[in-house]
Homo-oligomer: 241 residues x 2
DNA sequence: TTCCGAATTTGCGTAAGAGCAAAGTGCCGC
DNA sequence: GCGGCACTTTGCTCTTACGCAAATTCGGAA
C-alpha cells in the first residue's frame, strides 16, 4: 500500500510517474505534471475521516491516490445512502466542474486513504492550460452519470436479491483484489453499508450473504467479503445483468 | 404554444430574443446568438416521436424550445423507466459534453415539441468561443446530477406513496401551468408513466390517485393531472421532503 | 353519432421484505 | 488474556405493494 511506502508529506519522483498513468493527466508531459503537483496539497485520511461534508463551501477539488472514498448523502430522517465509491486515480469533489459552490454530498474515507487536492480557483486554469484534462474529467463525470442512471433503473425494477448481487459485482469490478479463494473487495464493507447502497435493510443483506455463503458463492468475515464464484453472482444479478 | 405561432421552419427575430433568455446563451450578445442560430437545425416532433435512441451514435446535441422531452431507458426485460423530463430552454442529448460518442438513453417527445440541434463537432467550438456557454451547460448538468441523486435516495428510502407524491410535485414544479382548479402538469401523463418514474406499478399509482382525488388533493382526467392542493402533497412526500 | 381501443379503476390473494427482538461472535484495545 | 463493543445472525410477525383478473370509462376517429 502506498501509504506505508511514502508516508504522507512529500511528493516524490514516483508520484510523478504514478500521476502520468491517471486519466485526468494521461495526456500531459513531465513539466506539466510537475507544475500541477507543485500546487497540490497531499493529505492522509484515517478510515472514517471526513474529507468534506454536504453543503460545505466547495473550496478544493481532490484526486484520490490510494484507498477508497465513500460518497454519501443523509436523508432528513437521518438514514444514510451511499451514492458511489471513489477508487485510486479518480477525481472527486469536483464541484467546480459543475459550477457549484458547495459540495452536494459528504465524502468519507472507507479505508485509510491518500489524496491530493487543489483550490477550486485552479480548475479553470487546469481546464484551459492542460489539453485533455477537461475531456478526461468530463468523461469520468459521464461514466458516473451513467452509473447513477443504472442504479436508478436497478432500484426501480429489480428486486433486492438482484440489487445486492449487482452491488457486490460493482465493488468487485471497481476494487477487487485477487486472493486465494477468489476476489476480495479491497475496502471494509459492513452489511449495513451494503444495505445503504442497495436500498434495503442490513437484516435482509445479512440473510442473503448467509445464504450465498452456504451455497459457496461468497466467503466473508467481519467487514471483509471475498467473492468465490462471481459468475454465479452475475446470474443472480438478473436477466442479462 | 410556440408551435402554433411560428410553425417549424424559419427562425425569426422573436426566436432570437427568446434564446437570449435561455441559460446556455444568457451571456452572449446579439451577433453571437445570430451566429449560433445560423448553424442550427430546427425540427418539430409529434407526441411520441423519437428524437434519438439509446446506443445510437451521438451526432447532434439539442435544445428544446417548446414542449416536453422524456428521457427513457429500457431494461433487458423490456420495462421502461423514465430518467427525467426536459423542459423548454434546456439542452439535451449533450453526449459531447461528457466525451461520449453514443447516446446513453432514448429521448421521446412527451408532447408535441420543437427543438433546435447542432452537429456535435460544434460543441467544442461553442465552448471555446462563447463565454459562459460551458459554465451554464455544466451547471445544468450538475443540477441534473443532483436530481438523479435525489431520485436514488428517494427510491432507496421512501415508500411508494411518498415517491409518487414527490414525483407529481417535481412535474408540477418543472412544468406546471396555472389553471382554475389548481396547477396542471403541462404534458400528458399516464398512470403507467408515473409508475415508470417512481419504480412501482400502474395499479398502485391508480389506487393512490383515486384516493387523492377522493380527498380533494388532485383532479385528473385521462392523461391530464391537476394538483389542487400542492401543500398536502408536500406533506405526503415525506418528512421535510 | 357510434364505435373502438387505450387508459383507468377496483377487488382479491399473495409474496417479498421490513420491522422488531434477541442471541451470538469476532476483533480491537487495554 | 480479557472485556466490551461493533457487527452479524436468525426467528417471527406484519405490512406493503405486487400480480392477476375483470369491469368500466373516456376520448378520439370514422
Amino acid at each position: 500500500m502506498l501509504l506505508r511506502k511514502f508516508g504522507n508529506r512529500v511528493l516524490n519522483k514516483l508520484d510523478e510517474s504514478l500521476l502520468t498513468r491517471l486519466p485526468p493527466f494521461s495526456m500531459l508531459d513531465r513539466a506539466q505534471i510537475r507544475a500541477i503537483l507543485d500546487q497540490a496539497a497531499s493529505r492522509r485520511y484515517d478510515e472514517g475521516a471526513t474529507v468534506f461534508g454536504e453543503g460545505m463551501p466547495a473550496e478544493r477539488f481532490h484526486l484520490l491516490l490510494d484507498g477508497t472514498i465513500r460518497v454519501i448523502r443523509t436523508t432528513p430522517t437521518g438514514e444514510q445512502i451511499i451514492a458511489l465509491h471513489i477508487g485510486p486515480g479518480q477525481l472527486f469533489g469536483i464541484a467546480p466542474a459543475l459550477a457549484r459552490d458547495t459540495y452536494p454530498a459528504t465524502a468519507v474515507a472507507a479505508a485509510e486513504s491518500l489524496a491530493l487536492s487543489w483550490p477550486v480557483r485552479l480548475w479553470p486554469e487546469f481546464v484551459q492550460r492542460y489539453d485533455g484534462f477537461a475531456t478526461e474529467s468530463y468523461r469520468t463525470l459521464g461514466a458516473r452519470l451513467g452509473e447513477m442512471q443504472s442504479r436508478i433503473t436497478e432500484l426501480a425494477t429489480q428486486q433486492v436479491e438482484q440489487r445486492v448481487a449487482a452491488c457486490l459485482l460493482r465493488m468487485v469490478n471497481q476494487s477487487g483484489r485477487k486472493v486465494d479463494q477468489g476476489i476480495e473487495i479491497a475496502f471494509p464493507v459492513t452489511r449495513q453499508n451494503i444495505s445503504e447502497m442497495t436500498g434495503t435493510t442490513l437484516h435482509t443483506v445479512s440473510r442473503l450473504l448467509s445464504a450465498w455463503e452456504r451455497e459457496g458463492i461468497v466467503e466473508s468475515t467481519r467487514r471483509r467479503i471475498v467473492v468465490t464464484a462471481p459468475h454465479r453472482l452475475v446470474l443472480l444479478s438478473g436477466p442479462a445483468g
